[in-house]
């Protein structure tokens, strides 16, 4: 979904931190969901922004000015889902928050990296307990992150995850130079979610520039996004099968992923969807020959996925390995603000595509929800979403056989505007917030990958499980380090 909210940024909000806090809390109690919360330093004040989503899908933006030396009482104390936002807020603005139950740095941004070695991990003490430190450097070619397990024998009592090693200063980089030329940079925020980030960023810029995207271009973006979803779900399922030593699933899904990413490459020139989306439209051409090739690939995926899924979920040893492992209960998932496919595997019907307009309205996609919240549910969600996306792609390619030419450069951005754009990436909602000053230059760029919120979901899901089950729990959430660290 690409929801764009305009907010007259030039007029500073009249609300104080206290009334803002009361307003946000009242809305949260009324059933609204916290989408994002952040702040920006303005001299001796901090401009607070909270984006909430009401049960009907409508977005609400609440803003206020807080005094930089007084702060306010943390929302996290009453609404746990705000935990990561308020940790980030303190880290980025220095605003003092009281009563935050977990006031630790989120990613050690702009600080001495050596401080990361002294992260104040939660400690478990006792005669029969032990701690296992994993990372920050891991076996295999994956990104760095530090995991601290507090265990009783094989059982994990608590897991704390400390990230930030991949911090590259993405938000600051987006403010430098002409933002309309930053899409290639945005595509590297989380390399496995290139299309979703590029689309969210592009949609925010289009709103600021007041440019309408042709329906066929939106459809083309949807095709790129769903191809990304299919490819990453196949990669995740293949990885999950590898981690439980189920060779057949690993090799079959791994093979199909190649078909999916090669289809992306034929459309946009990159197997990871880079270059597909550009502000104002798309940079993909769909020729008749290419259309036939894509259709053949989709048919192959549809046929083989159905077969492989049946074999995997019909294999007792595989389902037994995953069932009841890493269970995240629906109420806990909602409380800590888990989003995306992990939330849908825990029974929460959170999918930005269902409320979005454009192609999602024209050809609705079947959103899958499972209730169990365990590793098996997260595997099933991915298999089901692949099938839903394949069916959706076939329909969309039939309805929109012609895609528009690459768009002209965007006009200049409107001054004094604040916009929010949300796109449902394969992992969950990707949120981009952009704000312009009185001369139409970007003054604030806020990027949010679903990983930011879901890492805690993984930590909580691990409680009471065996430490040897961590790799499959980790793989079932499939979170991004660099998407979190920015």
């Amino acid at each position: 979904m690409t929801v764009v909210v305009r907010w007259p940024g030039s007029a500073l909000p009249p609300a104080t931190a206290e009334s803002w806090r009361a307003d946000v809390l009242a809305r949260l109690r009324g059933g609204a969901r916290l989408v994002t919360l952040f702040g920006r330093r303005l001299g001796d004040q901090v401009l607070l922004t909270a984006v909430l989503q009401h049960p009907d899908g409508a977005l609400h933006v609440a803003r206020a000015l807080a005094l930089a030396d007084t702060g306010y009482r943390a929302l996290t104390a009453e609404h746990a889902a705000a935990h990561c936002f308020e940790r980030e807020l303190v880290e980025q603005t220095g605003l003092p928050l009281t009563d935050h139950p977990w006031p630790k740095p989120l990613r050690y941004q702009d600080r001495d990296q050596a401080a990361m070695a002294d992260h104040p991990f939660w400690q478990l003490q006792g005669k029969e307990v032990h701690e296992v430190a994993v990372g920050p450097i891991h076996a295999g070619v994956i990104e760095p992150g530090s995991f601290r397990f507090s265990c009783l024998g094989e059982q994990v009592h608590h897991l704390e995850i400390q990230l930030g090693y991949q911090h590259r200063g993405v938000e600051a980089r987006l403010l430098a130079g002409d933002p309309r030329r930053h899409t290639p940079l945005v595509e590297t925020i989380a390399g496995d979610t290139s299309v979703a980030h590029a689309w969210a960023f592009g949609a925010a810029l289009e709103a600021l520039a007041d440019v309408a995207v042709p329906a066929a271009a939106v459809a083309a973006r949807g095709v790129a996004l769903e191809l990304e979803r299919i490819a990453m779900h196949l990669a995740g399922l293949s990885g999950l099968a590898t981690d439980i030593a189920f060779l057949q699933g690993a090799s079959s899904w791994g093979r199909l992923r190649t078909t999916a990413i090669n289809t992306s490459m034929r459309l946009c020139g990159s197997r990871f969807g880079r270059g597909a989306v550009r502000p104002g439209g798309v940079r993909m051409a769909l020729t008749a020959e290419l259309r036939a090739e894509v259709a053949a690939n989709l048919r192959l995926l549809q046929h083989d996925c159905a077969h492989v899924d049946d074999l995997f979920f019909g294999a007792r040893s595989a389902t037994h390995r995953l069932r009841g492992i890493g269970t995240l209960r629906p109420d806990v998932a909602a409380e800590i603000g888990v989003v995306g496919m992990a939330a849908r595997a825990s029974g929460l019907a959170l999918d930005a595509r269902t409320a979005a307009g454009g192609i999602w309205h024209e050809v609705p996609i079947a959103s899958v929800v499972h209730a169990d919240g365990d590793c098996l549910a997260r595997a099933r969600i991915r298999a089901d979403e692949i099938r839903a996306s394949l069916a959706w792609l076939s329909q969309v390619l039939e309805r929109h056989p012609e895609w528009p030419a690459p768009p002209p450069p965007l006009p200049s951005l409107a001054p004094g505007q604040f916009v929010v754009a949300i796109v449902e990436g394969w992992r969950g909602e990707v949120v981009h917030c952009l704000e312009t000053d009185e001369r139409g230059r970007l003054t604030h760029a806020k990027v949010q990958d679903p990983s930011l919120r879901n890492w805690l979901g993984l930590a909580v899901a691990m409680r009471g499980n065996e430490i040897s089950d961590f790799p499959i729990c980790n793989k079932s959430f499939d979170l991004s380090y660099c998407g979190h660290d920015l």
Partner: protein
């Protein structure tokens, strides 16, 4: 002559066996897979390297791989391989056989603890638990064969003559129990996963993470030898014609050895790994089979021996 044959088989066939298991896995995965001798080349490469030692380790860490290798060789010398008599044989040698395995295991566990790594400590704890559960399986299986054949050494114990339903029951139960024992001892799927890179899930592999160069080669040779010994026990147990004239028992045993390797590879390809807390149950099932074999010998005894 047969001594030379046995020693040659012990030197070369373990690598070939691993190659066949790998090739079977590759075949199931629709891949070409590495060459049959790849594990031998790996060992050769390791032998040319230098071992690296952590400053926290003691001399215990350095001798452990060689104790492990020596213990595997010690067990191997008692095993009838490829339809040939074993190099050594003496009454009740299966006790030596089992505790040589145990000695090698203790050496590896102590070396793992010696590194001070929390991963390796966890691996050693798992190994210790599963090995203690496996010990009665071995004794039940060998005990059943012992009662069936009135033999006193591995050479006589195997092959067991299959005459009638009771004896067939004993042999079938023992063969299945031995298959599980081989999977546990050799750290294969569904008990362990030799291919994984996930330290937190490992049993055997995590304990040898700190070993390198020739030390690691010694462990890999020892592990390959253990798999080969286990497979050879199964082959000898089920061998249909051990007393046939010269080349036949060897040819049949070679064919059966390939069959066992393909079976192990096929199980690894079609089955996911067990949850770690389910492994004791899996070993428990093997113990049950061993006990069934042991009890079935009484059934046979009643028929008049």
């Amino acid at each position: 002559m047969s001594l030379v044959g046995t020693l040659l088989a012990l030197l070369l066939l373990p690598f070939l066996l691993i190659g066949i298991v790998q090739r079977t896995r590759s075949w199931w995965a629709g891949r070409r897979g590495p060459g049959l001798w790849q594990s031998a080349f790996d060992v050769q490469r390791l032998l040319r390297k230098q071992s690296v030692y952590s400053t926290t380790t003691t001399p215990l860490f350095r001798i452990a791989p060689w104790v492990f290798l020596a213990s595997a060789v010690g067990s191997a010398l008692l095993t009838p391989v490829l339809g040939l008599p074993p190099v050594l044989s003496f009454p009740f040698d299966f006790v030596w056989f089992l505790y040589a395995f145990g000695l090698g295991r203790v050496a590896i566990m102590l070396a793992a603890l010696d590194t001070g790594s929390s991963f390796e400590g966890m691996g050693a704890a798992r190994e210790g638990l599963f090995a203690s559960l496996l010990e009665p399986v071995w004794f039940a299986a060998f005990g059943a064969l012992f009662c069936l054949t009135d033999a006193t050494s591995l050479a006589e114990l195997l092959p067991a003559p299959i005459t009638g339903l009771p004896a067939a029951t004993v042999v079938a139960a023992v063969a299945l129990a031995l298959l599980v024992a081989v999977q546990v001892e050799s750290a294969r799927v569904p008990v362990d996963d030799p291919a994984t890179h996930l330290e937190l899930t490992m049993i055997h592999e995590v304990q040898v993470l700190d070993h390198s160069g020739p030390d690691l080669a010694a462990i890999q040779i020892g592990s390959a030898l253990k798999l080969f010994i286990g497979a050879s026990l199964l082959v000898a147990l089920l061998h249909p014609c051990p007393a046939a004239p010269a080349p036949w028992p060897q040819l049949v045993a070679a064919g059966m050895l390939i069959g066992v390797a393909v079976l192990i590879g096929t199980i690894e390809s079609l089955v996911a790994r067990l949850q770690l807390r389910m492994v004791p149950w899996y070993i428990g099932a093997a113990l049950l089979l061993g006990t069934v074999g042991l009890l079935a010998t009484a059934w046979r005894g009643e028929g008049g021996r």
